[in-house]
């Protein structure tokens, strides 16, 4: 099962390598990875999407906690959360498909950020399900290239 884990770390050189190395050394899979500083510039947030059964995930959490520069580890899958990623999708958009492409963009609140007589590039943000849906709809037209960010997530506040 897929888990999205946020890891708060000291913003020091080598920390990301240590976290990534931990996964590869033990044979755990990193499906997606995103890292950026927090408002406190001495602290960064790493968001990892990984998969495994309950025992594997428990081990991953414990191993992450052992890393000296790790401040906090949260498994966001365990609680209510919002997750997002952004995709830039370059599609072949010849005359016949141009209208359809624009309609799809509208439906998914995507922006057309580049346009040539043969192509459109769409920028779309959303949860994993939405991104996949857009891609599926655009496939028949012909996708030239897709570039995706890693997934990020944030816990929902309880009332």
């Amino acid at each position: 099962m897929e888990h999205i884990i946020s890891v708060l770390v000291e913003n020091k050189s080598g920390v990301l390598a240590r976290v990534a190395g931990l996964f590869s050394a033990r044979g755990y899979n990193i499906e997606s990875l995103s890292v950026a500083p927090t408002p406190d510039s001495s602290i960064s947030m790493i968001t990892v999407v990984t998969s495994g059964d309950e025992d594997i995930i428990e081990q991953i959490m414990k191993q992450l906690n052992k890393v000296i520069e790790v401040l906090k580890v949260v498994d966001l899958t365990e609680e209510d959360h919002i997750d997002r990623e952004t995709a830039l999708i370059k599609i072949l958009a010849k005359q016949a498909h141009r209208d359809e492409a624009m309609r799809i963009a509208q439906i998914f609140r995507a922006n057309i950020v580049d346009s040539t007589p043969q192509t459109y590039t769409l920028e779309v943000s959303g949860d994993a399900g939405k991104i996949q849906a857009v891609i599926n709809l655009l496939k028949p037209m012909g996708i030239k290239e897709i570039v995706r960010t890693g997934r990020i997530a944030i816990a929902r506040e309880s009332l």
Partner: protein
């Protein structure tokens, strides 16, 4: 006062109470060695290979409980330390490994003797630092020692750029170390402890299972109190031997692949396993699907990631073994387990460690028995292989930090340099090195510093002219295809010792074994090497082969 980074390093080591730095010199570390040259308090121990230097620092740490310090230059010097660092990492030994590094402006440039030490050692150390400026040194060293020696101990690598070694700055040693992201949990949860005590009092077939963590926590007194107060039989692993006296009636001896039948049967039939500072390693558990199938498990460990990793645990207690056991001892009382103790004693009597005498050959187990008889108080440093298993089986350890060996990584060549470190750390003790012909030749060059320093090491080689443990597996599981194990071309180790400048004795007959050991006792002006030519194809039994459960232990004797 303004000091160079290298001088600040040595002054910082002095603040940490370091007596010895085990190292080998080289270009990128020269300023550090210069700072050590005439230092009144911190002494350089010059080893002959950086692997030897790292094992010596490790042996010092295991024998004394202090942080061992090793020092090498950049590039190949640093990479030669990796085996020693990984050895310490696997056994959780507190160590600080300092490596010289090229000038900062040359880093990443494929410079002469440059190596990304931080990258190379990342998976095999607890933490690492790169010092690029002289004013970082004091804080880094203070943190490094703190991390190495607290929580679950481990090696910390400090990579020190040469310009930082030269750069001068004000020396101020921090009074306290505060790492906001590193706060190891030492107190066990009182509710968990109470739950554990309840399980102990209600068990009918309980066993205590103690490992290297008890020694690392200096908790052997508390462990003894627990066992004796409750009257529960106890098995101590290879890494923990001596934490509980092997000669005590409650002792079941070592469990696992080459452990005692009693301990293995006890695991299999128990209804409660109390694990303290042990990690349910595969060498101990055998096939996990058959391991202690009817037992509830209590697991006391300072490392939360060890709990529930291999074996589901009913009562996990994260904390320092010494503190947790102290709390437990306040609550426990004697348990009534008469029938279980009768069974344990029956197993002990029926299945002791034993061997057959083969003709006139010197049996390796006989040598160990004689060593035990004559050197029962010594610190014993074992290497890796069959001789290590026989030493663990036939030498009855009674004190913690009496038995030193590389258990986790199983590094051949560990013991001779480690014995040097142990002797320097414990100058009033006799240090015996039980070595094998395969292991001995891997770090034999460290005889040189042992001789120079006149260390009265007793180096006993169990020489069967084979890479013994591998040969055993080839005999039992690979139709005796002795590929890559034939060591009949070994040199005469006694003559070789003489050439080095030590005392060498070759023993080929049974009647010469004991006299040689007695002679070695009297030699105190330097190391003595005894080459015992033993039976070539003797196997280590009992044995739990890979894939088998502990209950299927092969007792081995015809």
């Amino acid at each position: 006062m303004e000091l160079s980074g290298a001088k600040i390093l040595i002054e910082s080591l002095k603040q940490e109470g370091v007596e010895y730095v085990f190292g080998v010199n080289g270009g990128a570390a020269m300023p550090i060695f210069d700072a050590l040259y005439d230092h009144p308090d911190v002494k350089l121990i010059m080893m002959r290979h950086e692997q030897g230097a790292s094992h010596a620092a490790d042996g010092y740490a295991r024998a004394t409980g202090e942080v061992g310090v090793t020092l090498a230059t950049s590039g190949p010097g640093a990479t030669n330390l990796v085996t020693g660092i990984a050895t310490a990492f696997m056994d959780s030994i507190p160590m600080v490994a300092i490596t010289g590094q090229v000038y900062t402006h040359l880093m990443g440039n494929d410079a002469f003797q440059e190596c990304d030490v931080i990258g190379v050692t990342r998976p095999v150390c607890k933490h690492s630092y790169l010092i690029k400026s002289g004013d970082e040194v004091a804080d880094v060293i203070a943190e490094a020692f703190h991390i190495a020696s607290t929580g679950r101990p481990g090696p910390v690598v400090v990579d020190f750029a040469k310009d930082a070694q030269i750069h001068e700055s004000l020396f101020r040693y921090p009074e306290k170390v505060n790492i906001r992201s590193y706060k190891p949990k030492v107190e066990g949860h009182p509710r968990q402890i109470a739950k554990a005590v309840e399980l102990i009092h209600n068990a009918e077939r309980p066993i205590l299972y103690a490992g290297g963590g008890v020694t690392l926590a200096n908790a052997s007194e508390e462990l003894r109190e627990l066992a004796i107060k409750t009257g529960i039989p106890i098995t101590v692993t290879l890494m923990g031997l001596g934490a509980f006296p092997e000669t005590h009636p409650l002792a079941m001896e070592m469990p696992g692949m080459h452990g005692s039948c009693c301990a293995n049967y006890a695991f299999t039939d128990s209804d409660l396993v109390v694990a303290i500072g042990a990690r349910f390693d595969d060498r101990v558990t055998g096939d996990l699907t058959k391991f202690a199938p009817n037992a509830k498990k209590i697991h006391i460990d300072i490392d939360a990631s060890c709990i529930g990793k291999n074996v589901p645990v009913d009562v996990p207690i994260v904390g320092d073994a010494k503190r947790v056991l102290a709390e437990m001892n306040k609550l426990v009382h004697r348990v009534d387990i008469e029938p279980w103790m009768r069974q344990i004693n029956e197993w002990k009597e029926q299945y002791p460690f034993e061997y057959n005498q083969k003709g006139d050959n010197i049996m390796p187990q006989y040598v160990i028995e004689q060593i035990y008889d004559l050197y029962s108080d010594a610190i014993v440093v074992g290497d890796v292989g069959q001789h290590q298993m026989w030493a663990a089986q036939y030498f009855k350890f009674t004190e913690p930090r009496q038995w030193l060996n590389s258990g986790g990584l199983g590094t051949m060549g560990f013991s001779l340099p480690a014995a040097i470190g142990a002797q320097l750390g414990c100058p009033d003790k006799t240090v015996v090195n039980i070595n094998g012909d395969g292991s001995y030749i891997m770090t034999i060059q460290e005889l040189v510093p042992a001789i120079t320093m006149k260390l009265p090491l007793k180096i006993f080689i169990i020489n069967n002219m084979y890479l013994g443990m591998v040969r055993q597996w080839q005999e039992l599981f690979h139709q005796k295809r002795y590929a890559g194990v034939d060591y009949h071309d070994n040199p005469d180790f006694a003559q070789l010792a003489d050439a080095f400048g030590a005392t060498g004795i070759r023993v080929e007959r049974i009647e010469d074994v004991r006299p040689a050991l007695e002679k070695a006792k009297g030699i105190d002006d330097g190391p003595v090497v005894i080459d015992f030519i033993v039976d070539e194809e003797e196997n280590v039994f009992p044995m739990v082969p890979a894939g088998a459960g502990l209950g299927d232990v092969i007792r081995g004797l015809a």
